[in-house]
């Protein structure tokens, strides 16, 4: 019943991932074996272009980054629906084009709203 053709197509990707992981692990392993190890506190601090550290990595982000990320996620979903439409475009024809036009029109209203509210301004 269950045709397993699709998983078989992905075996090269699996091999690729295995090689990537093995490369990272092996090179780190060889490095840790070969290098001398004499740590002291000044050496263990993160390297920040030679200047002394001035803050934690966990600084609060400004708000506008969130709005940009949120808009990206929503329009990413638009892409999710555009892709199968584009693949079947020939058979879907004019009706499909109208439907997708309506969908994009609805989302453009949201884009227009974001623009008018100044959510895309970086100031």
């Amino acid at each position: 019943m269950a045709n397993e053709a699709v998983p078989l197509n992905y075996i090269p990707i699996l091999l690729f991932m295995a090689i990537v992981v093995a490369f990272a692990v092996i090179s780190l392993l060889i490095g840790s074996i070969a290098r001398p190890s004499h740590p002291y506190p000044a050496k263990l601090t993160p390297y920040e272009s030679g200047s002394p550290l001035f803050s934690d990595a966990r600084v609060p982000f400004p708000m506008r980054y969130y709005i940009i990320a949120m808009l990206f996620v929503i329009f990413d979903i638009e892409f999710v629906f555009l892709f199968p439409w584009a693949v079947g475009f020939k058979q879907l024809g004019l009706l499909g084009l109208l439907e997708m036009g309506l969908f994009i029109g609805i989302l453009l209203v949201g884009y227009w709203y974001a623009w008018k509210k100044g959510a895309l301004e970086w100031e």
């Binding site: 019943m1 269950a2 969130y66 949120m70 996620v73 929503i74 999710v80 629906f81």
Partner: protein, 100 residues
């Protein structure tokens, strides 16, 4: 050959994990993450039935579920940010101003 009931079992365990997360965690963001786990459990179930019953409907509903998860994440995280501005807390037990 994996039986359908194995996928349903995985989906059930994931769903209950997410449900436990929603019920016992106090951090609002973790509660939203637990909701994502529950949505994913539902997706596994839908896609498994779609495959074994040879119908596309399950995959399409899973696609809609992903779209709704994105919208839910956007609005839910915005709510978290607004609440955090007012109270400097993301603890769900302290957000009780509208409680009757």
């Amino acid at each position: 050959m994996v039986p359908l009931s194995a996928y349903v079992a995985v989906s059930a365990v994931l769903f209950v994990t997410g449900l436990i997360g929603v019920l016992i965690r106090r951090n609002f963001i973790i509660v939203l993450m637990a909701i994502e786990i529950m949505l994913n459990a539902a997706n596994v179930n839908l896609v498994a039935f779609s495959h074994y019953l040879e119908s596309m409907t399950g995959q399409i509903v899973a696609l809609f579920v992903i779209a709704i998860a994105a919208g839910e994440a956007a609005v839910g995280l915005a709510i978290i940010i607004v609440v955090f501005r007012g109270k400097i807390s993301t603890n769900v037990d302290e957000i009780n101003l509208l409680k009757w």
